[in-house]
């Protein structure tokens, strides 16, 4: 068997939707192997129309469907386990759900709405106090699942954006040993991202193990710098309500600038936080990040304008003489 019978699951290419470490641990996968029939065969007999997206995070099949209509912007969130990558995704989606817009453009759809909701619901007051979303499972997958958003820009063009929802363990391993077998997902993403956001954990950088966290963060930044190939990189201080000592903050910042002088910085938190005697609201902070992630940016080069070299004055029209 090469794919999971659960149409919403991308295993084995993606991580198991049920959160199991390997597909063989999953009861859905095992049931199929043991001969149980799924609904799809019955649907086919009835002429049912099935859709090319499941609503969950997009795997290879979903990406093939989506990339047929254009060149999406791929946003890689790179950071250690528990750094706050999923929370950042939840904040982005929750703001779209509240405004109907992405970076000032109307929201034009998503083929992974259930995947977004699975993360963002934790940030709502729905019977519970809002909390951090569940961890992204690390088992099994060889490529990240992608959460998709589309927007209609000012010129009427459809712009697709894919956010990688990746487990932190991949990047911890990749930072130490980029060629490791269990860093394949991180390598896959690092090679394909349009923009890279390195998410650093202010909670870890201010806690008991802050020395180790500082070292890990700097190592990750250096690894990103080696493979970035001139792509834009941001340093995002997640959980910015936690106070990181000036010495550690400056050490991380200095390490980042040393290897990526053009790196930009952002701060986010799920609670309001103080900066320079001002209170920064979570919505304002996340809007700045999203504007940078998917906004227009300089390609880093300028195309030379062709200048004709003719002696005939006719071809000189429109050119400075």
């Amino acid at each position: 068997m090469t794919s999971c019978p659960d149409p919403k699951c991308g295993a084995p290419t993606l991580t198991c939707r049920m959160g199991e470490a390997t597909p063989t641990d999953c009861p859905v996968w095992s049931a199929k192997k043991n001969g149980a029939k799924d609904d799809a065969s019955g649907d086919d007999a009835l002429g049912m129309v099935r859709l090319p997206w499941s609503g969950a995070a997009l795997g290879s099949a979903g990406l093939a469907f989506l990339t047929g209509r254009g060149d999406p912007c791929v946003v890689a969130l790179v950071g250690s386990h528990n750094a706050g990558k999923s929370t950042l995704l939840g904040l982005i989606y929750q703001q779209v759900g509240r405004s109907g817009a992405i970076a000032g453009s109307p929201f034009a759809g998503s083929y992974s709405l259930e995947g977004w909701e699975a993360i963002a619901h934790a940030l709502r007051w729905e019977g519970n106090v809002p909390r951090f979303p569940a961890h992204t499972t690390s088992g099994g997958g060889r490529a990240p699942g992608f959460l998709h958003l589309a927007r209609r820009d000012g010129e009427g063009a459809l712009v697709d954006v894919l956010f990688a929802d990746s487990p932190g363990e991949w990047f911890q391993r990749w930072a130490i040993e980029p060629g490791a077998a269990d860093a394949e997902g991180a390598r896959w993403l690092a090679e394909r991202a349009s923009v890279i956001v390195v998410v650093v954990d202010c909670d870890a950088l201010s806690g008991e193990k802050r020395g180790q966290a500082r070292s890990d963060t700097i190592q990750l930044l250096r690894r990103v710098a080696v493979g970035r190939c001139e792509r834009p990189v941001a340093l995002l201080w997640a959980k910015a309500d936690e106070v990181v000592s000036p010495a550690i903050r400056e050490a991380v910042r200095e390490a980042a600038r040393r290897v990526m002088p053009d790196i930009v910085e952002f701060e986010t938190s799920v609670v309001p936080f103080k900066r320079d005697d001002k209170t920064i609201e979570p919505g304002h902070a996340i809007a700045r990040v999203v504007d940078w992630m998917i906004g227009p940016r300089d390609r880093g080069f300028t195309l030379p304008s062709p200048s004709p070299h003719h002696s005939d004055p006719f071809f000189a029209i429109g050119n400075a003489i």
């Binding site: 149409p7 109907g100 929201f107 309001p272």
Partner: protein
Amino acid sequence: MTRRLLVLGEYDVGKSHFAAQLLGRLNQEQGVLRMEGAPETLEPYETALARINSGKAAPHTSQDAYVESCWPLVDRTGRKIDLQWPDYGGEQLRAIRDRRSMPADWRNRIIASGGWIVMLRISHQQLSDDIFTRPLAVPGSDRQPPESFEVSQQAQLVDFLQWLMFVRGSGTLTRVATPPLMLLLSCWDELPQAEQGLAPVNVLKGRMPMIAGFAEANWEPSALHVLGLSSLERPLSEDAIDSEFVDRGPEAFGYVVLPDGRRDPDLTLAIAAMI
């Protein structure tokens, strides 16, 4: 000219009440659209018509039922239109959504339709508070497993509209001109007074901003309509009789809320823009 409209609405959005009241207005022949002659059959609406004429709410349409009838209409310019109007149990849409597969007859209806009217019981749609609207001092520490959540209503509807566009083959690269989309915000009288005076599109932006953004992003402005609707103007009970409703007659009740927020008792305006 024959025009088939696809009226989409889940359970309890008021499809049957709207159909019964619309029939009454068309037969009154005082609106921008009027009935020319008589529909081939009134049987699908017989019960609903009888109930509201008796001052009671119509019963719920059977969840397996799907009936269409042809209404011969004429507008004020004399243009004749045969309108195919459906009635069905709203659970069918929920089943499609839950199974994530669509029966062939529904696919054929989507392809053949000349306009989509999506009815939303807008007072039942409300954004949950989140950390943006009700900030936290400290976030909760427990991390729930991913299965225990419910997809928000606006996300469900966006996904369903994407299905329709996919099945229809409308394309997404440019805005859609055909079929036009009407977002009909039903049971307007249930809204808080402060919202009843607003333009329908502003109520939609406040209660379902993703839907408002999605529609704006994907439909040509000339092919997108957002109206409010109160078919009965007041709640009716399935058991108790509303005597005033009986005495004045159903035709004295109900209104459409136009894009600028004005109310008009001509319920045919709710479909005139689509044909």
